[in-house]
Amino acid sequence: MRELALVGVIALAFGLGSYHATRELTAFAVLNLAAGTLAFAAAAGLALRRLRFAAGSHSRRVLLRGLLGVAGALALALALERAAAWSGLRGDLTFERSFELAPATRKALAELPGELTATLYHDRFDPRARNTRLLLASLAEAGRVKVRERQLSDSPEALDRFGIAGSNTVVLELGSRFETVDRPLEATLYEALYRLRSRSNGVIGVLRGEGEGDVSSEAELGFSGLAAALATEGYQVRSLVTASLAEIPADVDAVLLLGPRRALLPESVAMLEGYLERGGRLLALLEPGAQSGIEALLDGWGIQAPDGVIVDPASGASGDGALGIDPIAYNYESHPLSRGLNPDRMTFFAGARPLVLHNAGPADSVRRVVLASPHSWVTQDLSVLSRRRGALMPDGAAQDYHTIAAAGRYPRAAGDARIVVIGDSDFASNRYLRSLYNLDLAMNAVHWVVERESEITLRPKLRTPKQFPLPIQNTLRTFHGVGLLVPELLLLGGGLVWLRRRQA
């Protein structure tokens, strides 16, 4: 019996060892696993037979009690593990909090119409699969997600069907629809989830033709990133060339004005005025130093945009050394648009224009949303933007919570008009959109103006793991001091114990 058990154990060990080394079930591994299992089964059968003949009724009771104890322990362990798995209690202790899902991802998962299947396709030894596996486990714990893994070499048909280009690719399937994510991070998976939901939130008209920002431009200060984010979240982006329009089309849910650098035609301003009077929605991103004529229109709606630049020394120096002219905002008034933003979730502005609010009408509600720090002040010296040097606080300048973004709601006979004004357009440019919580502010502003408050959320961030070198020279001392000295001392201790035992 023991001989059989020993043969079984050795055969199983070699079979599994072969599999772990090659990650393949070779003939050697299969033969060993089969032989080991058979030998074990035979040994167990012999042992049971021996017990059956040897044991009397008292012994059987003792054995039964013991077996029940083992079964009880097993059942308890299984029940506790399942309960813990069901509770989903877990903590992400990574430096970047890489596996803590953003509210937007959780929301997207919760709103899925059916069960989602997430399949990870990878090569056997691809190290990136480890993190993707953990990320998919996070998705599975947060929603109705079935996670599977497939080896690339075993799935040639999937490569064609899903257009898989390489290892560490995730395919999300919802019914007959699928999305292929070749760089599986939470942010990219979230975008794929949103596309799978195929929700249509409306049409955003982007004003063009009078020096506004370009939503098709992929340049650093272009807005293609914003357009892509809008499309991801279910908006159809349509260019509106103001000079060719008599009025804003009726099917446009909101108008987006991106940092106009030139003066708008008076007809265009009048067209916007008429649109707002009919209960239209406007998101205007302004730039300091640019007079577009929209300022007078906004003034009539309770939002003044005086020429000037907010200088916020609390934000410190920006990349090129200018002190405070690129405010980092961490003060938010309570407003649906700023839901989820708090002093730990900051937004970055590359030169911001101050806004001053006043009551436009008795039923109107104009509110501040994003504020610079109480140490901020305003200068009319716009040359600080081009000089990129620290500005001097003018005599009599007031340090206060200067408004960077404001939102207004205006009940009108034709419907509620909504306006959001932000004193900077660069914050939503390709260069800065993914900085801090800028994307959330921009997208949540859009959702608010089109009355899709339920879509207001915080999106996953692109986290870059630390990639700095850890020079060998710096760690050599640690290697000698801890890495080698400790084993050496232990070996010395073992040697002395051995000598003492020999002498004894």
Binding site: P469, L490, G493
Partner: protein, 263 residues
């Protein structure tokens, strides 16, 4: 309780009275240090290659995401350490029950006031303390080096917890195997086989349906351990290792009954 404490103390003294324990501690610490240092050297070389290719100094945006201290250095080292422990821990636990049984000194234990359950518990406790020490010793150098890189102590704590639980799980399997035999060799070899079998059951996934494959994965040690190494502490994973300990304890206790019956 005093008798139980005395037995734990006796077990620890017995462990540290033999050179094997020091040898095992030293080997695990040394192997971990060498593997870690080697991975660190390789990581720096990879960064150097990217640095040279760009010719513009170190630029993090040219390096793939997965080339970072955690994924390129710490994680693989911890995976290797996890496998190394399968080889080493059974060597430490093989003698705990088997030696006493071979020498017949286990009969003496039954003459004390301790119940078989308490005897098993004391031996398990002593082995767990030793394994925890082994983990601490092997973890010291990688943790110190990584901490110097400023990568956060929380992740290190998660990895250490995972290592310790993995070690305790392996010790439990080793002790269980030792409890059923009087041969230290059989105890060690069977512990290796069981631990290897449990380490990764995904090899059988190709032959079974999705449900069974998921069950096999849930039974495997490797994905649970990897989760800790990745910085995620899940209650289910903690209970999984505690469950291995609990079942092993009960089964080791059962071995005493079996012995009484089979003689």
């Amino acid at each position: 309780m005093t008798a139980l404490r005395a037995l734990v103390r006796k077990e620890l003294a017995s462990l540290f009275g033999a050179p094997t324990a020091y040898l095992a501690l030293s080997m695990v610490a040394l192997v971990t240090a060498l593997i870690f240092f080697d991975h660190l050297r390789l990581y720096n070389q990879i960064l150097f290659v990217y640095d040279s290719a760009t010719m513009g100094g170190f630029a993090s945006d040219t390096v793939p995401d997965y080339v970072n201290l955690w994924d390129s250095v710490f994680f693989p080292v911890m995976e290797t350490l996890g496998l190394t422990l399968i080889g080493v821990v059974p060597l430490v636990t093989m003698r705990v029950f088997a030696e006493e049984r071979a020498r017949g000194t286990d009969e003496l234990l039954f003459t004390t006031r301790l119940t078989p359950g308490q005897i098993v518990l004391a031996k398990f406790a002593a082995a767990y303390l030793f394994v925890t020490l082994m983990m601490a010793v092997s973890f010291l150098y990688p943790a110190t080096a990584i901490e110097q890189g400023g990568l956060g102590l929380e992740h290190l704590a998660a990895v250490f917890l995972g290592l310790t639980l993995h070690g305790i799980g392996l010790a439990s399997i080793g002790l269980l195997c030792s409890a059923f035999t009087s041969s230290q060799l059989v105890a060690a070899v069977s512990a290796w086989a069981v631990a290897f079998l449990l380490w990764d059951l995904s090899w059988a996934s190709g032959f079974v349906g999705d449900r069974i494959a998921a069950l096999l994965e849930a039974l495997s040690i490797q994905p649970r351990y990897s989760s800790f190494a990745g910085g995620v502490v899940s209650l289910a994973n903690v209970i999984y290792f505690a469950g291995i300990a609990l079942v092993s304890l009960a089964a080791a206790r059962f071995s005493f009954d079996l012995r009484r019956v089979s003689g």
